[in-house]
């Protein structure tokens, strides 16, 4: 029997705001527990939410970048549930009128292009974080309470794990390049829930849905979905019934494990949030945001490959993060040769970042300095060998490459009026080499170059010397 899978994805992105969605508390990843909270985050009696307007702006960027329909009037709703990480006992979310609906992203999977549709996306507050100590106590950190989230809900129209991963990769890329979120799964700024059901080919009704929450990586998404496909197939083939349930992916065994069986849907008793009036999203504002959307990864890729002549592989390495792509663009804007800049970014700069477990924003190197160094190479001021020394200094200390080269006398000797007499002298002093050259022994040139390098203590520009030598020798 053949089976057909139906996969839906719910992805939460933390929106990159300075303060929380409903309170003025700051948002910093890794802050000490409960230091970034106030009475609103604690759900104290008498407190009220105020919407951070930046949350709408960031959400709208993603809505527009995914071709979604923006609802002209949106409002918040209360989702009631009682849990220690949820101090008001309700989450302020959007249930009845989400920010945007009916979008799509275009993915390429198994060599075919396909549109995956987005059912809706809404903004909401995150809950606090519960941790369970080894001392028998449980702890709650309300720093995360009120961090703004954008939840993007796909239509259940993916049919295999590869498609699901392709969708996630594309969605992450799109969101990342709007700048609305850091999309770092390891820091929780991108979180993935999946659901999957299977049914015999030809059957119209969907099968029973199984959910998996908080998958840690795209690979885990792929493996867990593949495992579920098989597991559910076997149940159906043996005449059993799939339970409506939430399962967890066990990374050690590669299997999914039952967490809880659902008896009907949880009743969240949604109703419109009376503390926040409906919000009218002005068309002019949407237009303005649309006009100022940063270039997408696809648009950048097109420029890198077709305009700059980069290899697609190199372009993709640059496009792995918005930061690196932005850095590269700035270096090119500062006058660096794109191919050289890409080469330096993808080898030396990335190497340095990996070695130091750092990110671009943490290191001293600026796009302007990288561009300045590349220009010194291009115009022959420094050799590529010297360039490595210059890079080491600039990347570590932010030193201006031009100044550094000048102050340390690292510039190559390229001045022909200085080099011509030297060349003449060396050739005059080595008649045997002239003889060898005339007899077709090219090795002779290498010896003569070496002599000049010796005299200039390595600073002579080999290209210029070669040129001058050939001219001199051919003239004899």
């Amino acid at each position: 029997m053949n089976f057909k899978s139906t996969i839906g994805l719910e992805v939460h992105f933390e929106l990159k705001t300075k303060s929380k969605i409903f309170s003025p508390s700051p948002v910093t990843y890794g802050a000490k527990p409960n230091t970034e909270t106030n009475v609103i985050d604690w759900g104290y009696p008498g407190t009220l939410p105020m919407v951070n307007k930046e949350v709408y702006r960031l959400g709208l960027m993603v809505a527009l970048a995914t071709h979604s329909h923006v609802n002209p009037v949106t409002h918040f709703d209360r989702k009631n549930y009682f849990y220690p990480d949820n101090p008001k006992a309700y989450q302020i979310t959007q249930f009845f009128k989400p920010l945007a609906e009916n979008g799509y992203v275009e993915v390429e999977v198994h060599g075919q292009k396909k549109k995956i549709h987005i059912h809706e996306m809404h903004i909401e507050e995150d809950a606090g974080k519960n941790t369970h100590g080894t001392n028998g106590f449980s702890y709650v950190d309300y720093n995360r309470q009120g961090v703004p989230l954008l939840e993007v809900v796909s239509e259940p129209e993916m049919t295999d794990p590869d498609e699901a991963v392709a969708y996630l990769e594309k969605l992450r890329e799109i969101v990342q390049f709007t700048g609305a979120s850091d999309v770092k799964m390891e820091e929780g700024s991108m979180r993935i829930d999946t659901n999957i059901s299977i049914r015999p080919a030809g059957q119209k009704e969907f099968g029973t849905k199984v959910e998996m929450k908080n998958l840690n990586s795209f690979e885990h998404v792929r493996l867990s979905l593949a495992y579920e496909q098989k597991r559910q197939e076997q149940i159906l083939l043996s005449g059993g019934r799939v339970q409506i349930s939430t399962r967890r992916f066990d990374t050690n065994t590669g299997k999914t494990v039952l967490e809880r069986v659902k008896e009907g849907d949880a009743d969240y008793r949604y109703f419109p949030e009376p503390d926040l009036a409906p919000y009218h999203i002005k068309k002019e504002w949407v237009d303005e945001i649309a006009a100022n959307l940063p270039k997408t990864a696809d648009e950048r890729r097109d420029i890198y490959v077709n305009e700059y002549g980069l290899k697609p592989y190199d372009a993709n390495v640059l496009l792995q993060s918005k930061e690196s792509s932005d850095f590269f663009d700035k270096a090119v804007a500062a006058g660096a040769d794109p191919k050289q800049a890409a080469n330096w970014m993808n080898t030396q700069v990335n190497g340095y970042l990996n070695e130091n477990h750092a990110e671009l924003k943490d290191i001293a190197l600026t796009p302007e300095n990288l561009a300045a160094m590349i220009k010194l190479i291009s115009d022959g001021t420094i050799s590529s060998k010297i360039a490595k020394k210059v890079f080491a200094e600039t990347v570590a200390n932010g030193t201006d490459p031009k100044k550094y080269v000048e102050e340390n006398g690292m510039a190559q000797l390229s001045d022909e009026s200085v080099l011509t007499p030297m060349v003449k002298e060396v050739v005059d002093n080595n008649p045997q080499s002239v003889e060898d050259f005339k007899n077709g022994k090219d090795r002779a040139i290498g010896f003569l170059v070496g002599q000049i390098m010796k005299q200039t203590r390595g600073k002579a520009n080999p290209k210029v010397i070669n040129k001058l030598l050939l001219a001199d020798l051919n003239a004899r």
Binding site: V39, P45, G46, R269
Partner: protein, 481 residues
């Protein structure tokens, strides 16, 4: 110090002239409250060390004047209980906007007044801290839920008090105690620091013997606030500017539903007399209909209880307030703390609201109620097309006996039939004394409702009636020894 013969203006004058000392006044006020409260129990907390502002500037009318605050309004560092066991020891670490504004105007916060638990009730009998007695007759309720504030003002414990009004909680006790009370337009006064009962209906307002005193206080507490998204940025007029006017040409609507046979004869007669008075003085009286009045009680109890069920779910015994002592595990902490911490009426409304919002019931109850609410708003909008104010009784009856209705919730809920609509429509409404009922001898309140943000007309009519009957000269009989 007793305030029965004082106004904010008279106090301001005496303080300015040095006939009164603000610090001594605070002490004397606290002392008198203690004494009077032995009879009426209007306060939950009296601040005997109430802080008096430094460098009093008597251009501030409230400078040095003691004001009482209903105990569901947050006061930083001063116990705030909402009259509930579950918050019996709660000391807030932040300030409400209204109290911050009063303090900025150099008023003295003298204490916190009794109320129905979480403002749920019409008699102040659901308080964890005992009943408040009506100063006109100690065997009668003061009304509710702002019964403590009303009794405190009526007995002269303070010159003015803040209340809150979700379905009549300022107007009905004002009516029962023969004082003035105004619930402003929803969005006129910030709710930051008001312990929520029903967020879309709750509004803070003022209670005082004299109309002008409430105008003075409202001048201070009204206006924009960047902590409350539902408060209006509309400019606040000087409400005292609407006083001292006549009513000639004023278009006054009288809804026939408000003068039905359900209204007790003594109440009806006193209210009709005031309508006649307005007419005699040149007002144009129009009989109108608010056809959805018959649906307001069930509609209100569904919406208010639904919102309350969410608002009160945070009280879990963990972070603040009451925690049951003998709980064996976390689940028991929650269940026992809530079971022991909430009173019956609060539990009843949490149950009702949770049901109205539940998956099978939402469409039939909450959504239906929300639609009726829209119709009620339309009723009012239509009447205000041709009228400046709507008038009628505040309550169908005068203050009832203690313990007479507390065991019959439906009867208690029906008390609110004439006051709820103003909360549903978000319009300003006030109660001004119409006199004593000929049948019960207790005070009758005359209700005046205005269009949204038109507190001005409400004050104008209330002040006109106050000048006509000088009811404030009558002293509450229950306090005479």
């Amino acid at each position: 110090m007793n305030y029965l013969n004082e106004t904010i203006d008279s106090l301001n004058d005496k303080l300015k002239k040095g006939e009164l000392d603000a610090k001594q006044l605070a002490k004397d006020t606290a002392e008198n409250i203690k004494k009077t409260d032995e009879k009426i129990n209007a306060f939950i907390t009296v601040d005997e060390d109430a802080k008096v502002a430094e460098d009093l500037n008597f251009d501030n009318k409230l400078a040095g004047v003691p004001i009482a605050i209903k105990d569901n309004i947050i006061t930083e560092g001063l116990k705030t209980t909402a009259a509930s066991h579950i918050l019996y020891n709660f000391e807030p670490v932040y300030e409400s906007t209204v109290v911050a504004k009063l303090k900025a105007a150099q008023a003295t916060i003298i204490g916190k007044t009794n109320m129905d638990e979480f403002a749920m009730g019409s008699s102040t009998e659901t308080s964890y801290f005992g009943d408040t007695k009506n100063p006109w007759n100690l065997n009668k309720v003061p009304g509710g839920s702002s019964g403590g504030s009303a009794a405190a003002v009526a007995s002269g414990e303070v010159v003015a008090a803040l209340g809150s009004d979700t379905g009549g909680s300022i107007r009905q006790p004002a009516s029962f105690n023969g004082i003035f009370g105004i619930k402003p337009t929803y969005g006129r006064v910030s709710r930051w620091g008001l312990i929520a009962f029903a967020s879309s209906l709750d509004q803070i307002g003022v209670m005082s013997k004299r109309v002008k005193d409430s105008a003075e206080v409202l001048n201070v507490i009204a206006g924009a606030d960047d902590r409350d998204a539902t408060v209006s940025e509309k400019e606040v007029p000087d409400y005292t500017a609407f006083l001292g006017k006549d009513v000639k040409g004023l278009r006054v609507a009288v809804p026939k539903e408000y003068m039905s046979d359900a209204v007790e004869a003594g109440v009806k007669k006193a209210v009709q007399a005031k309508i006649d008075l307005l007419k005699e003085n040149g007002a144009i009286i129009n009989e109108v209909s608010l056809p959805h009045t018959k649906y307001v009680v069930p509609t209100y109890y569904i919406i208010a209880s639904s919102e309350a069920s969410a608002n009160l779910e945070r009280y879990d015994g963990i972070r603040y307030g009451f925690r049951a002592e003998d709980a064996k595990n976390l689940e028991e902490v929650f269940v026992k703390s809530r079971s022991e911490g909430f009173g019956d009426e609060v539990k009843r409304r949490i149950m009702l609201g949770s049901f109205a919002l539940s998956a099978g019931a939402y469409d039939k109850f909450f959504l239906q109620a929300a639609k009726v609410r829209t119709l009620i708003c339309q009723d009012f909008a239509k009447v205000f097309e041709d009228n400046d104010v709507i008038v009628g009784p505040v309550s169908t009856e005068t203050a009832f006996d203690l313990n007479s209705e507390i065991s019959d919730p439906i009867k208690m809920y029906n008390n609110d039939i004439l006051t709820i609509s103003a909360n549903m429509a978000g319009i300003p409404a006030a109660s001004v004394p119409a006199g004593l009922s000929e049948t019960t001898g207790m005070p009758v309140g005359f209700q005046i409702m205005g269009n949204r943000f038109d507190e001005g007309h409400v004050f104008q009519v209330a002040d006109f009636i106050e000048r006509s009957n000088k009811f404030y000269e009558q002293k509450p009989a229950g306090l005479e020894d």
